[in-house]
């Protein structure tokens, strides 16, 4: 029994990503068509060239028919997957395995979410019949639990903690301001972030990711075929996923300063990709910054900072666009927006642009252009502290 990985067996040869935002004039079908067509063009293929599809959405449709109906797919396998906020990544992961298995030559992973049609504030989950005893926390409240626990454990006072969270939001807005596909394309001053109305705990509105509509897609082929489609494929180095006992809410040993699922999936990914010093080896990481404290904790769980020190690294600018390890150079969930089923693929889209040096000049990271690093990470989680699923991928622009 082992997690062997499929390093360098498959490659991404085309990607598409719609702008994310409040698409009052676009349907789920519209966004699926746009993301898919862009991915086909990017790979230089037609829809008929695709042998199978993995389709991710949390709640904007059910079954493979949501995709096949929109795209008029000609009797091919379409698998619908759902894994909460990691849904887009899960579609990608399974699509990669399908190619690696040899079952198909060309596979598409497509994700979509339409959140803005329901007229609600924030995310709303599906309601299952229950005994009414589960704590009904909103998403910002769930993740805000991290902040006081982290601050308490590592001796960060409330004002410093707010500064750290503000710095993360400020950085992601700065990056998003350089991204024409992002939901929020404006820099936001730290005073504005700091003084925004509170939503949950210490979190103001700028500490929360954008609720948005969007779609993204990737075309995956065997690595040996990749150069038939593009001169600059991205090779899949690692695909890791972890779901745990979800015992944080019932186990006093869980202290709300870490995601065990993230540590586990990161360790697996690093092993698959032979990465030993992620902070030095990765050119960038797109991480699941659903709320600012999440990004803070992820820096430690992903091994980018020592335990208890990520807050200092954040303040020092380590993870800025021009920092030692740029985190969320596209603005992340914070600025790019978070259409659930699309987000994991959107993260890969930024690796696609950055590692191929196709990002706009004002956002192209120097770890690639000057540092010569070739690896990018996407990290995507679903659920909440103590009870989540976590996905980590590592992709690279070179074989080996």
């Amino acid at each position: 029994m082992a997690s062997r990985g499929i390093k360098d067996q498959v490659a991404i040869v085309g990607m598409g990503c719609t702008a994310f935002g409040e698409h009052w004039d676009k349907s789920v079908d519209d966004m699926l068509v746009e993301a898919s067509q862009e991915a086909y063009s990017s790979a230089g293929i037609a829809q008929d060239d695709i042998d199978a599809y993995w389709f991710g959405t949390l709640a904007s449709g059910v079954s493979g028919l949501t995709l096949s109906r929109a795209l008029k797919i000609d009797y091919k396998p379409v698998t619908r997957v759902e894994n909460m906020c990691a849904t887009g990544s899960e579609a990608f992961r399974n699509a990669c395995y399908a190619v690696a298995s040899g079952a198909y030559d060309v596979v598409a992973a497509v994700g979509v979410e339409k959140l803005k049609d329901n007229g609600m504030s924030g995310l709303t989950g599906a309601v299952l019949p229950s005994d009414g005893t589960k704590s009904e926390l909103t998403a910002p409240a769930m993740f805000s639990l991290l902040a006081p626990a982290y601050a308490n454990k590592y001796g960060v006072d409330e004002i410093e903690m707010k500064e750290v969270l503000t710095r993360i939001a400020w950085k992601n807005h700065f990056n998003g301001a350089r991204n024409k596909r992002a939901q929020y394309q404006k820099e936001v001053g730290k005073d504005t972030i700091r003084n925004a109305p509170l939503i949950a705990g210490q979190l103001g509105i700028f500490d929360c990711s954008g609720v948005s509509d969007g779609s993204a897609a990737a075309i995956i082929v065997r690595a040996e075929d990749a150069l038939k489609y593009t001169d600059n494929p991205l090779y899949v180095k690692a695909l890791a996923f972890a779901a745990g006992p979800a015992a944080g809410p019932i186990d006093s040993d869980y202290d709300y300063t870490t995601f065990h699922e993230v540590s586990a999936s990161a360790a697996d990914a690093y092993a698959q990709a032979d990465v030993t010093d992620p902070r030095a080896q990765l050119a960038m990481a797109e991480v699941h910054d659903c709320f600012t404290p999440t990004e803070l904790v992820l820096m430690e769980d992903l091994g980018f900072a020592e335990r208890g020190l990520a807050w200092k690294e954040v303040l020092a600018g380590t993870f800025d666009l021009d920092g030692e390890l740029p985190i969320n150079p596209d603005g992340g969930l914070k600025s790019f927006g978070h259409p659930i089923g699309a987000s994991g693929l959107r993260m890969l889209f930024e690796c696609w642009l950055q590692l191929r040096r196709e990002a706009p000049d004002d956002r192209q990271i120097k770890t690639v252009t000057e540092g010569g690093r070739t690896l990018g990470m996407t990290h995507n989680l679903g659920g909440g502290p103590g009870e989540c699923v976590s996905f980590v991928s590592i992709v690279g622009s070179e074989l080996g």
């Binding site: 504030s121 005994d131 910002p140 639990l145 809410p249």
Partner: protein
């Protein structure tokens, strides 16, 4: 000897300053405060709290009652027995009968008469959430509280107040009435009620004195109650009892709590009572019920876990009139742009009765790990189906982390969400109630309290929340 073997009372945390009413409306109100059931409380949840307090006072030595009877003029459900919720929350055996007596505040006396004249132990719980239309005398003068009695005989447990007997008179007249769909009562002109009531008091008192071979001079203290304030003021005199003997009706702080008022005053009296005290109870409600109790030597050994005076003094009078009106349904406010709350489903609530109502978790026999809610597979070591029941409702805990949720739907935003680690093990996430957001802190000591989480589609969702631990 038969009588009271245990008692308890519950006064909710919130107080409305009566001056807040006049400040808002330009009239109404008055001096002092009235007790207000929280937005997450109702007559049933308060009855659970009063019963828990009673059982805590008996500290595990309470005999299992043969019945639990819930008396309320403001029952949360009709057609469905509210007492079953109390029965479930107290984790009583299935063989214990549960029933409601309701309609008028006099109904509590029906339950008490049956219990006192019976032979087996019986738990009687009275609870009302009372108000009136904005600006009315009822709104200001009434209050919310619950009271519980465990009635039994000396072979069940020590009797702390012996039932000496009593008498009742009944007469049909229109004084106070309410249709089931109304959230306020109507009353006739008060001088008529006084005219109707006082002769009934005199008649009932005379009969009771005669039946028990007592006379007014034997009365050490008189508990006098009824929702007709003017008649109650004249009742002691009509009964021939010196006005100096009248027990404090707690109207300055709590208000008249209807069905539970006699029990609340009696609890307050018993909290400080010495042996040998003769107590007369006069209850004006569609007639008049008079009864006599005498405290026994056993009262010296009885310690109320939550004395009435302490509950009164720990109240919080910061409640705004706007919030009060909102909680009682008189002010329909714009909800957040969030999905409507959903009711609990019947089958999972049925399957999980022990957990949902009695807060019973499971303990892994091997590792000792406590699971809330109960699990089949242990979080420590993964043992399968090696669990035992572990009641957690009375176990205090400490806040591990917390947050203030300003987005969640609540009648009293913002919601305080806490992660609790229980003394001796067990972790649970829930809401913190009866607390201000600035009270939430890592390390705060908390206890569990039975609440109505929400009502959706006419279904009340009862479950447990944390509240700051009483000193």
């Amino acid at each position: 000897m038969r009588g009271i073997i245990g008692y308890g009372a519950y006064v909710p945390h919130h107080r409305l300053k009566r001056s807040a009413i006049s400040a808002a409306l330009g009239y109404g109100g008055g001096k002092g405060t009235r007790a207000v059931a929280g937005h997450d409380e109702d007559a049933t949840s308060m009855a659970v709290e009063a019963s828990r307090s009673l059982l805590a006072s008996l500290d595990g030595s309470a005999p299992t009652p043969s019945s639990v009877l819930f008396a309320s003029a403001t029952p949360p459900y009709l057609d469905k027995t509210n007492a079953n919720v109390i029965h479930a929350a107290l984790d009583l055996p299935r063989a214990v009968f549960a029933g409601d007596v309701g309609g008028s505040p006099r109904s509590v006396n029906a339950a008490l008469r049956g219990a006192l004249e019976g032979s087996r132990p019986s738990l009687i719980v009275a609870s009302d959430v009372r108000t009136g239309r904005p600006g009315s005398a009822d709104e200001s003068a009434l209050g919310d509280a619950a009271a519980a009695w465990l009635i039994g005989s000396e072979q069940d447990a020590p009797v702390i107040a012996e039932w000496l007997g009593g008498a009742s008179v009944t007469a049909e007249f229109l004084d106070r009435w309410r249709l089931p769909e109304w959230n306020y009562s109507r009353v006739w002109e008060e001088r008529f009620g006084e005219h109707a009531y006082l002769p009934l008091v005199a008649e009932a008192a005379a009969a009771a004195f005669q039946q028990c071979s007592l006379d007014p001079a034997d009365v050490d203290i008189a508990v006098v109650t009824g929702l007709h304030a003017r008649a109650v003021r004249g009742a002691a005199r009509a009964a021939g009892v010196d006005s100096t003997k009248i027990a404090d009706g707690l109207t300055a702080t709590v208000g008249n709590t209807g069905s539970s008022h006699a029990g609340l005053i009696l609890a307050s009296v018993l909290d400080d009572a010495d042996p040998g005290l003769t107590i007369m109870v006069i209850h004006l409600a569609d007639g008049c019920d008079v009864g006599f109790l005498r405290t026994t030597d056993a009262i010296s050994e009885y310690s109320n876990a939550n004395p009435v005076a302490a509950q009164i003094s720990s109240g919080n009078d910061e409640l705004s009139y706007n919030a009060f009106l909102t909680w009682r349904g008189f002010l329909d406010r714009e909800p957040p742009r969030r999905p409507d709350p959903t009711p609990p489903a019947a089958p999972p609530s049925f399957r999980n009765e022990d957990w949902k109502y009695a807060f019973i978790g499971s303990r892994d026999r091997g590792s000792g790990a406590i699971h809330l809610p109960p699990q089949r597979v242990s979080v420590k070591g993964g043992a399968v189906d090696d669990m035992e029941r572990v009641p957690m409702a009375n176990v205090p805990g400490t806040i591990a982390t917390f947050t203030i949720d300003r987005l969640a739907y609540s009648l009293a935003p913002p919601t305080i969400a806490v992660v609790i680690d229980f003394d001796g093990g067990g972790r649970f996430n829930c809401q913190l109630t009866d607390a201000r957001p600035d009270q939430a802190a890592i390390g705060l000591r908390v206890q569990m309290t039975f609440r109505r989480m929400l009502t959706a589609d006419g279904v009340h969702n009862y479950f447990w929340k944390a509240k700051p631990l009483s000193p």
